[in-house]
Symmetry: C2
Subunit: 213 residues, 2 copies
């Protein structure tokens, strides 16, 4: 019975990896993620990844069955990256103060990249959604987790009375996530953070509109 991940090499599946092996595998994924994010998946050649990660062809294909399997690993990597960062750096988003900190954090993230690049997950969605159904589904799930982080915070705020009972955390979380995605995309096009700032500030202003009972 196939696992649905037939393209994965034995080395990639189980935990039968040496410490050295884990290191090289990790190096490959990190390099691939970086390159695919800035150039897109199709424009990133496995040769580029090889030289940048200082590995040979046989090494790369030892850990990943083919390029598609590597893309799969990159999606997982990006998902962890985004969710961990959101959780650790921003903390629970269950107050207006926390949401303001979160806003500043996201804006700073984009400012440090000089306005270049979009959301790691959003970029992959745009790149893969129409050509790789499995990738699309995985990315949708990742975005769903992110949405859940926001929803949990908003739900807590409502339950605590900080938000009106009429406020719908489901909808607001989705709208907030859309503001991030749209803001990042426009910022990427314009090479500055203003669009992101305005999108987030407007979304938060609307939230304040729903404060208290």
């Amino acid at each position: 019975m196939a696992t649905g991940q037939d393209t994965a090499t034995a080395a990639a599946r189980g935990g039968n990896l040496t410490a050295k092996g884990r290191a090289t595998r990790g190096r490959i994924v990190e390099v691939a993620a970086q390159l695919m994010l800035e150039r897109g998946v199709a424009r990133t050649t496995v040769e580029d990844i090889q030289s940048e990660a200082r590995v040979s062809a046989s090494q790369l294909y030892h850990y990943f069955g083919d390029k598609k399997a590597l893309v799969h690993a990159v999606i997982e990597h990006m998902t962890d990256q985004v969710l961990c960062t959101q959780r650790q750096a921003a903390g629970p988003l269950d107050s207006f103060a926390a949401l303001e900190r979160w806003r500043d954090f996201v804006v700073d993230f984009q400012r440090q990249r000089g306005g270049a690049g979009g959301c790691p997950l959003g970029t992959l969605v745009s790149d893969l959604a129409e050509t790789d159904p499995q990738a699309r589904a995985e990315l949708a799930a990742s975005l769903g987790q992110w949405e859940g982080l926001l929803r949990d915070g908003l739900t807590a705020m409502r339950d605590r009375g900080e938000l009106s009972p009429a406020a719908d955390p489901d909808q607001l979380a989705l709208a907030l996530l859309a503001a991030v995605q749209g803001g990042l995309l426009l910022s990427q096009a314009r090479r500055d953070t203003r669009a992101l700032e305005v999108a987030l500030d407007t979304a938060l202003a609307h939230l304040r509109t729903l404060a208290r009972a």
Copy 2:
């Protein structure tokens, strides 16, 4: 003195095109736009375009110096497409009623595509922004025009007293555009229109918050 468009064939520049020539050229651009939108630019081969548009290699390279010139034409085509559609199908966005119609129009557009595909301009931004600086600049300008359409409507609403004088049409237009982009991206990932609906409805709800003086 170069025009900055050195790659364009003579046929592509001037108006020295036969009716037949214009038709072929147009067919190429339309097919290229469609394919590049659904597969991305890098995954769209000129061979694909040739067979789909029923033209030979020499025809394609007669009208376009190289693939990059074709991409340029596609950007112009998509820009016209989006702006014309926005202007004609939605009309001036200078009242809440008009904005509601606009919302329904955008949602219907996405629904007809089964939730698949993103914004024609947004997708190209994500695809090209980091690898083709000129394309990025052109797309930023296109989005700026779109933003202008929204801003003009909101300005009219404010001047007419339908919106509070405190409302900033510049910011609100940008936030609205971000909502469209983010909503479409999330819809593309999830294959349904809910995210787009929620993003737009939330943005419009915030607008109503700023109604009157």
